[in-house]
Amino acid sequence: MTAPLHEPTADAAPSPAEEAAVVGAEAKAVQGRSLGRIAWERLKRDKLALAGGIVVLVLVLIALLAPVIANLVGQDPESHHEDLIDPLFGTPTGSLGGISGDHLLGVEPVSGRDIFARIVYGARISLLVGFLSAIVAVILGTVLGILAGFFGGWIDAVVSRVMDGLLAFPQLLFIIALVSVMPNELLGLTGTGVRLFVMILVIGFFGWPYIGRVVRGQTLSLREREYVEAARSLGAGRFYILFKELLPNLVAPIIVYTTMMIPTNILTEAALSFLGVGVKPPTASWGQMLSSAIDYYDSDPMYMVIPGVAIFITVLAFNLFGDGVRDALDPKGSR
């Protein structure tokens, strides 16, 4: 919280602006390192959280490299392989849903699309929606929460009422409704693009009050602290105090809530696609695969198990990592 003393070097006297920038950068570096280092050291001891973090990294790589991975096994998520389908029942021939050397996780009933490739591509949808909607929620929640907590008065009243209202809303219902009324073309996007865009915005919109409440509460208590008063008495402007004094101290709770929000968002995306209002075939999404698997839960159980396990592993990894981050950043925890 205290800026390190800055000793100007004798040979080059920096301009005041440069000097301020240097001080700012050093202050940030020191602060970031200490907060980050404590948290990182605690996180390193938490084996489960580390395992979760590694799985998350692997999943991000899988999502980024989906075309490469699918190419490696010589499959793509949308070609049909009807020759592998039993014409009578519509289910894959062979055992365990058609698992073979060519099709590592088998093929889908009826169309015979390769499940491995679809799972790999499905990771893109899950993570894209999970991360981006969390970012939407964090930006909205942080800005509105900090404004409400700092300025109080009518701003606080309005923001708080809106947050209460949104939290009492039948959310899933409204998310479904909003996603389903969207037109097929919007802002130059079509089909899956529109649905992804709308899902990200809507899930993020309903998520911000959770972060907003925490940020507001923290801001309320932080703005009365001595160091804020000190800054104010030195003549610091409101926005300087907001962004330079308060925001850095809100980083920890924001990180915690963000990591806990991502798995929830991934589940919401999967649920929407499961209900048939999210991503639609032929685009691969785990929720949509589970939804088509309903009709085959007795004749081809593997078709249901594979996307279900994919969702489970992903959400579990994020939850483990999120729990670890929360414990690591908790000031009450043992150091």
Binding site: A168, L178, A270, V277, Y297, M304, F312
Partner: protein, 340 residues
């Protein structure tokens, strides 16, 4: 335990009811906005979606008149609320449709009033939500309390691993798994919904898997929250005081710690129960239960606005009432809370 006398309680209740009423109006206006303004802005004619794309222009015009779709939005919202109390007559395109009070709208797609749809489906959803809530409260809270008391033991770790897995499993996956295993694989349960008035055992049989699946998810959430809350409370000063004055540990836990632990649990219960009564959409879809959630999902897919409006209103009402009940219970359970 409610302090401030009966007048204060009454004033509080009136204030809360007023806020709830305002919230309901906001919700109805938002639903109208979503289903009337967004399509209009996107250039889609709603009237066509009510009668089908191949309908002749006269029929479309008739629907538009009947539903008052050309009226400004505030007039439509007003007509909707008026209908609830005095009933509503839809006329246009040469014929007249009566909808008796309480008229929550009329679906021109399925040609039926909404109120009977709601009353038909409400018991299914209510039964599902209440049954599951009993299960998850018992098991979730018990597991959480035990974990907090036996912190760090094998039991604690085991329970928390199961709970973490529980919150990471989507309900439509556990639901399908349980159907595949218990209904299809082992043949123990005939997972077919039977109305309660037809057969009690049939109803139980149809509800048991949905109950357990739903309760598993929520029990996992509640166990985690209960454990965290309980551990925090066990570190409070008043617990130390209670122990210091020589109370038995059992009394400290039961009378002092449990009471404050239940406060956040109750808040969650109010919200979750309200949301579930509002439509356990995922559970009902997975198990094909003919409840409100399934009705509203079908309505959304068909763009059947009157059904969506009716269900949304009922469900929002459920959420608001649940929250109100919880707030009042708060004051009863936690002596630190006063109605203000």
């Amino acid at each position: 335990m409610v302090r401030g006398g009966p007048l204060a309680v009454l004033a509080y209740l009136i204030r809360r009811l007023f806020a709830a009423a305002v919230m309901l109006v906001v919700i109805v206006v938002v639903v109208f906005g979503i289903f009337f303004l967004i399509p209009k802005w996107a250039g889609v004619d709603i009237a066509t979606s009510f009668v089908g794309k191949q309908a002749d222009p006269a029929a479309v015009e008739g629907i538009r008149q009947k539903l008052g779709l050309s009226d400004p939005i505030y007039a439509q919202v007003w007509e909707f609320f008026k209908g609830i109390f005095v009933g509503r007559t839809y006329s246009g395109g040469g014929d007249v449709t009566e909808c008796a009070a309480p008229c929550f709208g009329y679906s021109f797609r399925s040609e039926q009033a909404i109120w009977p749809v709601l009353t038909d489906r409400f018991p299914v959803t209510l039964g599902l939500a209440l049954g599951a809530a009993v299960l998850w409260l018992i098991f979730g809270v018990a597991a959480g309390v035990l974990s907090a008391l036996k912190r760090g033991t094998l039991w604690d770790r085991g329970a928390m691993v199961v709970a973490l897995a529980g919150v990471s499993l989507p309900i439509y996956f556990t639901g399908l798994l349980s159907l595949a295993i218990f209904s299809y694989g082992l043949g123990w349960i005939d997972a077919e919904y039977v109305p309660l008035e037809d057969s009690f055992t049939g109803w139980l049989g149809g509800m048991i898997l949905p109950w357990i699946t739903l309760a598993f998810l929520y029990a996992a959430m509640y166990a985690r929250i209960t454990r965290a809350t309980m551990m925090e409370i066990l570190g409070e000063d008043y617990i130390r005081t209670a122990r210091a004055k020589g109370l038995k540990e059992q009394v400290v836990i039961r009378k002092h710690a449990m009471r404050s632990t239940m406060t956040p649990i109750l808040t969650m219960l109010g919200m979750d129960l309200g949301a579930l009564i509002g439509g356990a959409i995922l559970t009902e879809t997975t198990f094909s239960l003919p409840g409100l959630g399934q009705a509203v999902l079908n309505a959304i897919k068909n763009q059947d606005l009157p059904v969506i409006l009716g269900v949304t209103l009922i469900t929002s009402l459920a959420v608001l009432i649940a929250n109100l009940v919880v707030d009042v219970l708060y004051a009863v359970i936690d002596p630190r809370v006063r109605l203000s």
